[in-house]
């Protein structure tokens, strides 16, 4: 009797959940099911539904279908459209998946409309936002978006001579005798460290210097200690650091301790770690026009210019912010979703918390680069 009741209950609960999921789906599920975020399938009879359909096709990575939805197909090829969305060279965009999107009408008339499409892409290092303002034109009783194509610069075939240093390492082998020393780990030093309390918990900010003459793979671990000496929590900098430090290079780092209050902390034990690694001084990336726009909506932005011949597939910009006394105030970061081509500026912008932005007097950016087939 009890088993039959349980079976009936499970069947009823399943039906109820299916109904709820169909009527009020989560946006990502709706997109994958071929529905708009509102959960209703539609034909492009309104500007919003036309952009909805385009976003759904992009979410499915059904590029021919997405391309076919556009009204300005004659201006570019499907390949250009694909490269606009996923990049011409391997980059974060290449492996990104459309997580969610929002369609926001800006203006509408009988014959055309302006609609903002905000696409949030998901990558292995978090999400990035791609916002496009689309003109949507009417064609009979149907609407079709005009895609504002952004054509990525192609690098012309050429030879670029590069003679930057490269470091190779021969480590101690198993056949070496007991007293034979291994290659010395690089000497690194924390030159600044400063804990701050934020709503999410305690954040430890700092800067790490490679004071050696060899490249170092670095990481920083911090342990918060209570008044009785016991460890409250241990965390490391994860990706909020530039892991590869060339000689005399400085990286900021940020370590987050969620759900910890600074009043609980008596002291902090810092543990910088360094390993000697093979590395190359190439590529060199110039950071131009760094500027912090003031609060509210404080944004630290600038342009990255790859001065070398090697294509940088992924660039990670870390911004360090100081107050008037030179005290470290905050560390922010941003991954660049497009590849850095030689001599081609790519802009970056990262938000800075409003309360901290008001204290910032100077700022500095460093960039970590990753190239497929390269050292970094």
């Amino acid at each position: 009797m009890g088993g039959r009741f349980l079976a009936l209950f499970l069947v009823a609960a399943t039906i109820a959940l299916v109904v709820v999921g169909t009527l009020w789906p989560v946006p990502a599920a709706a997109a994958y099911a071929g529905m708009s975020p509102s959960g209703i399938m539609h034909s492009p009879s309104t500007p919003e539904s036309a952009v909805d359909n385009l976003a759904i096709a992009i979410g499915h990575q059904d590029w021919p279908k997405a391309y076919s939805e556009l009204s300005n197909k004659a201006e570019f090829t499907e390949q250009d459209f694909l490269h606009d969305l996923t990049g011409s060279y391997p980059s974060l965009r290449t492996y990104a998946i459309l997580d969610t999107y929002q369609v926001q009408p800006l203006h509408v008339s009988d014959s055309d409309a302006q609609v903002r499409l905000r696409m949030r892409w998901s990558t292995v290092v978090g999400t990035f936002l791609d916002t496009r303002n689309l003109q949507v034109v009417r064609n009979g009783d149907q609407w079709a978006p005009v895609w504002p194509i952004v054509k990525e610069t192609r690098v012309p075939p050429q030879v670029i001579a590069v003679n930057y240093l490269r470091w190779d390492v021969i480590y101690r082998g198993p056949a070496d005798d007991w007293g034979a020393q291994d290659v010395e780990a690089p000497h690194v030093r924390i030159v600044d460290m400063h804990p701050v309390e934020r709503a999410a918990g305690v954040v430890v900010l700092g800067e790490l210097l490679n004071e050696d003459v060899v490249p170092a793979y670095v990481s920083v671990k911090a342990t918060l200690l209570a008044k009785n000496g016991s460890a409250i929590a241990t965390e490391d900098s994860f990706d909020k650091i530039s892991h590869l430090l060339l000689p005399k290079q400085v990286t900021p780092f940020l370590i987050t301790f969620p759900n910890v209050s600074l009043s609980e902390v008596d002291s902090i034990h810092m543990d910088p770690m360094s390993n000697l690694v093979a590395a190359s001084a190439d590529p060199v990336v110039e950071i131009q026009n760094q500027k912090l726009s003031p609060a509210p909506d404080a944004i630290f932005g600038g342009d990255l210019v790859n001065q070398s011949g090697q294509i940088v597939n992924i660039a990670h910009v870390l911004g360090t912010f100081y107050d008037q006394s030179g005290q470290l105030v905050w560390v922010a970061d941003q991954y660049i979703d497009r590849a850095l081509l030689p001599q081609t500026p790519v802009s970056f912008s990262m938000p800075v918390p409003e309360d901290l932005a008001r204290k910032v007097s100077t700022e500095r950016a460093v960039v970590a680069t990753y190239s497929s087939g390269g050292f970094q």
Partner: protein, 291 residues
């Protein structure tokens, strides 16, 4: 596996011997034996007996003829330490203890030299520690002279002689003021061990740059970077150029090449340009345009 076997044999020896110790006589044993050397133990009486010898990581069992000396060939007892010998026959048990000392001639050195890389011109920055062993890997505890030598091309060799204490000797040396690889040698008797210490330039001593306008760019270039001992700073060292203009900044991190760092930044009248490497700041230029 052999260690387990040796341990078992030691237990068996002890089990066989201990009950008989109360009625035992004393074996006539040499008091000091050098590890690996040949020696003999004289015996008295007649008949057959069994000799047990147990020591550190080694145990032996021999069937012997009483009245004849028991000969041990060179290399039979190679581990230095304290040994127990028991000669057991049907009628009596004789026991004795003896020490096997390490051979006096050094045959191997364990040489720890730290660090393998350090800045030039550092006082007592290099440490060398030596453990002296005989040919059977016994630590020679008898005081032994060890010569340390640190030699660099175009600089006088530093030498120290240290006598071991409990088998170990250590010393400190200064790194040379000139960069380059140093050969650090430890020698005891006829054996030596060598290590290579990389002496590298220290922090830059005075960082100075100049600027030159080429088109709409400023070409920035540092003077050759040297440390305070005059060594060229290692290529690959990162130098940061920062241009501040009208509330915005341009930064370039460039590696040294042939001791010089070069970068290009936009030429903007009124811009302030600074240079730094690590925690060393250089000069600042205020660019007022092409003179």
């Amino acid at each position: 596996m052999s260690r387990v076997r040796v341990s078992w044999l030691a237990v068996i020896v002890s089990a066989a011997v201990l009950p008989a110790l109360a009625q035992s006589g004393a074996l006539d044993l040499p008091k000091n034996i050098e590890a690996g050397s040949a020696f003999s133990i004289p015996t008295t009486g007649a008949g057959k007996a069994t000799l047990y010898v147990a020591g550190p990581a080694q145990a032996l069992k021999r069937e012997v003829q009483l009245g004849q000396p028991i000969a041990f060939a060179a290399g039979d007892l190679s581990n230095a330490g304290h040994y127990l010998a028991v000669l057991r026959s049907d009628s009596s048990t004789e026991t004795g203890e003896f020490d096997v000392a390490p051979a006096s001639t050094p045959a191997a050195l364990s040489f720890l030299a730290k660090p393998s890389r350090l800045p030039a011109g550092l006082q007592n920055g290099i440490t060398g520690a030596v453990y002296v062993f005989d040919s059977f890997q016994n630590l020679i505890t008898k005081p032994t002279q060890v010569n340390f030598q640190l030699s660099v091309a175009a600089a006088p060799t530093q030498a120290r002689t240290v006598t071991t204490s409990q088998g170990a000797a250590w010393t400190e040396m200064n790194s040379a003021t000139k960069e380059g690889n140093a050969k650090f040698v430890a020698q005891a008797g006829n054996v030596s061990a060598a290590r290579v210490i990389q002496q590298v330039p220290g922090d830059p001593c005075g960082l100075k740059m100049s600027a030159r306008q080429v088109g709409d760019k400023l070409q920035l270039e540092t003077d050759p970077l040297r440390d305070c001992s005059g060594n060229a700073v290692t290529d690959g060292t990162i130098v940061t150029f920062t241009e501040s203009w009208n509330g915005s900044q341009t930064t370039v991190d460039v590696p040294l090449k042939h001791s010089v760092a070069q970068a290009e930044v936009p030429a903007r009248s009124g811009a302030r340009i600074s240079v730094a490497t690590g925690v060393v700041m250089g000069n600042e230029i205020r660019w007022e345009g092409q003179p």
